[in-house]
Assembly symmetry: C2
Homo-oligomer: 231 residues x 2
């Protein structure tokens, strides 16, 4: 149904947009010229974060601006909604906003991880993944899993002009997947690739634990690329 | 304990070596000059497969030869043992060979996947992953998870001189991980990277389902690369 829609015409909301991941993606999308609404539980904090991003964006030619709002207003204002809340707020946030998210593309980038002395580990979810949990809570939304592996540090630094990473985009509907691939493609050095159906989202979310282990061992901000002829 | 050991001095066994993945890795390791023993439930089939590989290897300068044997003899002959059996034979094969594998590095590349009309999906294991299942069955062995994502098609084709893929190597012991990284590094265009502790092996195994989805969508043989400054 959205096959003729290009992402240029859409407004993107980022729920939990005051966290590092959401804030970084909001910055990059606005830098690419997309209208972004940053949402937070606390609308004033969102406005403050938006003002900080707009300061950075004032240096970027062709950038759009970021607007701050409460999560509900942000969701209502957007066509595509990124969910970037901490996992422990995931279920409650979505349940609370189900009506505002009805009929929309909901992009879930949440990684259900725990941490102990040995580092990160994967939480065992009844639904199999955060994305499947979102789809169960939001039967009227079209949930897509994507943007799990991007480094918030690299996103925040506009002098990094090549993110050098692929974004695995998982979902059931090919057109929705294509819209979210376009969202990835707008960020320099990022490429959106179809990564499978939603039932295979759990391991993509969980792979973040391995990237954290790699970051610690090699003192880097790891991303992933998919190799293969024709890609 | 193996920190001074280079892989050049070691013999590698490949259990389930008549399957495409094991056969391909055996070919590449022998092509790099490593002594390889190909194991199979049926020792005669292993000898036949070894003869076929040796035919290919006769064209490769500096190649070692491959020897075929039953799984038990192969395990006993080697220092490092790759387990490359179908998942449904994983538990029984390892339980049967536990004594022969005692004290050795056991490299598990098994992907616990099922397939239905919608494609691949991940099997839910009590132990969390095939590698952790192996470690539970083999308390006297040092289990390492690695080589989950290599394309058997590309391995088998010696005209492919750049596999263009990283191998995530997961394990508890740094020296054992380093040995298996060396095994990856011997194959052209392959690089072994530490990928986390064994408890984070499940998602690496499961990611194979996503790579299969990518292969189908993009008609390719997908691999992965880890990006990041300093890597």
């Amino acid at each position: 149904m959205m096959s003729d829609v290009t992402i240029d015409d859409l407004t993107v909301a980022v729920l939990g947009g005051t966290g590092p991941q959401g804030r970084g993606l909001a910055l990059r999308w606005a830098a690419s010229g997309l209208e972004v609404v940053l949402g937070s539980r606390d609308g004033e904090r969102a406005e403050q974060a938006a003002a900080e991003l707009n300061q950075k964006l004032s240096q970027v030619e062709g950038a759009a601006t970021v607007r701050g709002a409460g999560n509900r207003d942000a969701a209502a204002a957007a066509d595509v909604v990124l969910v970037s809340v901490p996992f422990d707020a995931h279920r409650a946030t979505l349940a609370d906003l189900a009506d505002a998210l009805d009929g929309k593309i909901v992009v879930d980038c949440v990684n259900p991880l725990g941490f102990d002395k040995q580092g990160p580990y994967v939480l065992d979810l009844d639904e199999g993944s955060a994305a499947e949990q979102a789809q169960a809570i939001l039967p009227g939304s079209r949930v897509i899993a994507a943007f799990h592996h991007v480094s918030a540090v690299l996103l925040a630094d506009l002098t990094v002009t090549d993110l050098d990473t692929d974004i695995l985009v998982l979902g059931e509907d090919r057109d929705d997947v294509a819209v979210v691939q376009q969202l990835a493609d707008r960020i320099p050095g990022m490429r959106g690739l179809f990564g499978g159906r939603l039932r295979n989202a759990g391991q993509v979310e969980a792979l973040t634990a391995n990237l954290i282990a790699i970051n610690r061992r090699y003192k880097t901000h790891a991303g992933i690329r998919i190799t293969g002829q024709g890609l």
